[in-house]
């Protein structure tokens, strides 16, 4: 009996194996490996150079893809497949004959995929990257310099210079912004109206409001703190930015490049304030154990009055709300201290974006790809169909909450953008904050020292 099964299996497998062999696919779409990826803009290599030399940017012509160009494109947005397809349609319409092969990977495998592809010489031409990865990728020569292709008209499409600066190193534009990620407070407008609560316009008002909400037995702010402090750490960051502004350090170049390792008690102060809020119960007792979804649930079931969330959660939040208690919501960005004259919205950046490979055979095609991506038509798709906040100046947002978020981006600036590969520094400083909040013995100064040491170590590591 056993032997019959084995024989049957062998027969089956042989049949399959023959099918497998017969299906030898065409050679992989990527170009043959380039052993030495060029580190500079290879514009000089291209035969059909449509543009004059790069020293006269004002007269840069619109990039036209090379003959027979075929691009390999990597993205992390299976949930936005609709927008991606429409975008590709637009790109292909603007650039007839351009071939694009698409690959999707989960967001947390993106770096690994890029790394493997690059290490084996079969890198994607266009790939997803976060703006914080620009220095690191640039150090290993991975990124194509797009400066020669970006003309003034293209630059004018962006809501601010900061959008492109986030993806630049020095004067070189090394990537393209796609969408922004920022935290906002969303509040239960229905609940606020019923209780006569007003939207706080200062930090002090926020504290008073939280006290009032606590009296009613409701958690004031749902701020999921897992992992690494997550939104509680974001709140600390917002408090900190305001302190920094008041103390005149907002434009400190060391701070802007994330190299500051001496805070003289300022960082400690921000930790102390937020730890105090945590201990008063503003975030609920289990804040550091909540993950994103549980935080959302707390808010949706009206156990919490406000939610600190990421603008990209908006679609999910609207769905949940419709299925739950269907109350009205409003939003505001984290308020400034009364003493300050300006709300700091420093993280108004566009963290999700794209890069092009320095070793690509079709740099013009890459530039053309990006150009079509950056124009209003494409950006509008992302803004209104996928509810993303896009760096485009002219887009009008159909969702009012999204529109309110986006409007504040115009006010943004002073974003901390490390000019070195900071690796997992953010995780580590977040962890330090969690440790501080949960500890009975750690002082605020010890907390600040820990963070300073982490930063110093990250800088040293990156520079080795």
């Amino acid at each position: 009996m056993f032997k019959k099964i084995v024989a049957l299996c062998m027969a089956l497998v042989l049949v399959f194996a023959m099918t497998a062999c017969a299906k030898t696919e065409a050679p992989a779409p990527s170009a043959p490996p380039a052993d030495e990826p060029a580190t500079d803009a290879p514009a000089t290599d291209e035969p059909a150079a449509d543009e004059p030399a790069a020293d006269d940017p004002a007269q840069v012509a619109i990039p036209v893809p090379e003959e027979g160009a075929s691009l390999h494109f990597l993205h992390i947005y299976p949930e936005h497949e609709g927008a991606i397809n429409k975008t590709l349609d637009i790109i292909k319409r603007d650039n007839p004959g351009l071939e694009i092969n698409v690959s999707v990977v989960p967001w947390n495998e993106a770096t690994k995929s890029i790394q493997t592809a690059s290490a084996s010489g079969e890198m994607y031409d266009i790939f997803f990257m976060w703006s914080t990865q620009v220095p690191g990728y640039n150090n290993v020569g991975l990124l194509l310099d797009l400066t020669p292709y970006v003309d003034d008209e293209w630059k004018s499409w962006y809501i601010s210079d900061a959008a492109l600066e986030e993806y630049s190193v020095g004067d070189q534009i090394l990537g393209m912004p796609l969408r922004g990620t920022a935290v906002f407070m969303i509040y239960n407008k229905t609940m606020f109206d019923e209780n006569g609560w007003a939207v706080p316009t200062s930090q002090e008002e926020l504290e008073a409001l939280c006290d009032k909400i606590l009296e009613k037995g409701i958690i004031p702010i749902s701020a999921p703190g897992k992992p690494n402090g997550f939104q509680v750490e974001s709140i600390r960051g917002r408090v900190f930015d305001n302190l920094v502004y008041i103390n005149g350090l907002i434009e400190d170049p060391e701070r802007l490049t994330d190299r500051k390792t001496e805070w003289n008690g300022l960082y400690a102060q921000s930790g102390e304030i937020v730890k105090g809020w945590y201990q008063k119960g503003y975030f609920g007792a289990n804040a550091f154990g909540l993950e994103r979804e549980e935080g959302q649930t707390l808010f949706m079931t009206e156990s919490a009055a406000m939610l600190l969330c990421n603008n990209n959660e908006l679609t999910a939040l609207r769905e949940l709300n419709a299925a739950a208690n269907n109350f009205e919501f409003g939003s505001f960005s984290f308020p400034k201290p009364a003493a300050s004259d300006r709300t700091m919205f420093t993280q108004a950046g566009f963290g999700d974006g794209w890069g092009a490979w320095s070793g690509t055979k079709y740099p013009q095609a890459c530039a053309a790809f990006f150009r079509s991506f950056a124009c209003k038509e494409t950006m509008e798709i992302w803004a209104n169909e996928e509810l993303c906040i896009v760096p485009s100046a002219e887009v009008e947002y159909s969702d009012p909450v999204q529109g309110a978020f986006a409007a504040q981006y115009a006010d943004g600036g002073y974003k901390v953008v490390p000019n070195y590969n900071s690796g997992n520094k953010g995780d580590l400083t977040g962890q330090a904050f969690v440790d501080y909040c949960l500890s009975d013995t750690m002082t605020a100064d010890e907390f600040e020292t820990t963070v300073e040491q982490i930063t110093a170590r990250a800088i040293a590591d990156a520079e080795e």
Binding site: S118, A119, F288, G289, T297
Partner: protein, 300 residues
């Protein structure tokens, strides 16, 4: 007649080499070559991405042993996990196997499947399940505790530094106990039924059966289970990453997570390889140690 057995023995030994060709070829190409390449690259400052790297000798290794306390803290996490998990899993697996093998066939079938299922479930599903069991506000455990009035025992199981590691260990043990059980079960199938029966007729109770029959006759499987479990624990990653992402602070951060971060966030692949090699050597040494301790005594 004396020559024939000798020649047969040699014949068998030579045949043995032929039988080993496929496995050796595959492992050399896909395992040993990468190991060798990794060792070489661990002496460089390769970023993992570009082709320009420099030879830096033992720097990576020196760094691991002198300036990387987080690596060893993580190793401690792995070791604690290995000790607890091995003890629990092996004991539990063994007991379950003994009990299952003594059940009526219908029940045997049911339990064989039920107890093994967690091993088959993909890690993603496991993380979905156990997240909802552990979450502090709506999680199953806390809801249960509140329902029976033990509010004070409620915790944020995967976020509280005191309980996070325990929570992950419970989940991992839940998952893999079935694996050890199956291996023990298969070994116990070979224990001749009549030997056990005659021992029982002689008055042996359950514990004596275990001590004098089940335990000794599955010694080989114990070795396999021990080694597979310990080495698995030292290289654990999945569940730790999915449930706690390194836990509150670094209380559940395992070595594999550091390696991954070094490679894919710090872009220091050469150093990550050095860290991998150190881990690899530690695991190999552990394995050799256990094989030596449990050197099989042939029992016919």
């Amino acid at each position: 007649m004396q020559r024939k057995p000798m020649k047969l023995e040699t014949q068998r030994k030579i045949l043995g080499y032929f039988f080993l060709i496929p496995i050796v070829v595959l492992l050399v190409v896909f395992m040993f070559y990468p190991i060798a390449k990794s060792i070489v690259m661990s002496f460089t400052n390769w970023s993992g991405m570009s082709d320009d790297w420099k030879w830096i000798g033992f720097n990576n290794y020196i760094r691991i042993f002198t300036d990387m306390p987080e690596y060893w803290r993580a190793m401690k996490v792995n070791v604690i996990y290995a000790i607890i998990a091995t003890a629990v899993q092996l004991t539990l697996g063994f007991i379950m196997a003994v009990m299952v093998i003594n059940m009526k066939p219908r029940w045997q079938n049911f339990y064989k499947v039920a107890l093994y299922l967690p091993v088959i479930i993909p890690a993603a599903a496991i993380s979905v399940m156990w997240r909802y069991i552990y979450t502090p506000e709506y999680g199953l455990i806390n809801q249960f505790l509140r329902a029976i009035g033990l509010d004070s025992l409620c915790r944020a199981w995967t976020a509280d530094p005191d309980t996070a590691l325990g929570a992950v260990i419970v989940t991992n043990t839940w998952r893999y106990a079935g694996f050890t059980m199956v291996l023990y079960y298969v070994a116990m199938l070979d224990i001749p039924k009549d030997v056990l029966e005659s021992a029982q007729i002689d008055g042996a109770n359950r514990w004596q059966l275990i001590r004098y029959f089940y335990l000794p006759l599955t010694r080989g499987t114990t070795e396999v289970n021990l080694i597979l479990t310990i080495t698995g624990c030292l290289r654990a990653f999945d569940i730790f990453y999915l449930l706690t992402a390194g836990g509150p602070g670094t209380s559940t951060k395992v070595v594999s997570m550091w390696i991954m971060e070094t490679a894919f966030q710090s872009y220091k692949y050469g150093r990550a390889l050095a860290m991998s090699i150190v881990l690899f050597l530690i695991v190999v040494l552990t394995m050799l140690l256990f094989r030596f301790i449990l050197a099989p005594r042939e029992k016919e």
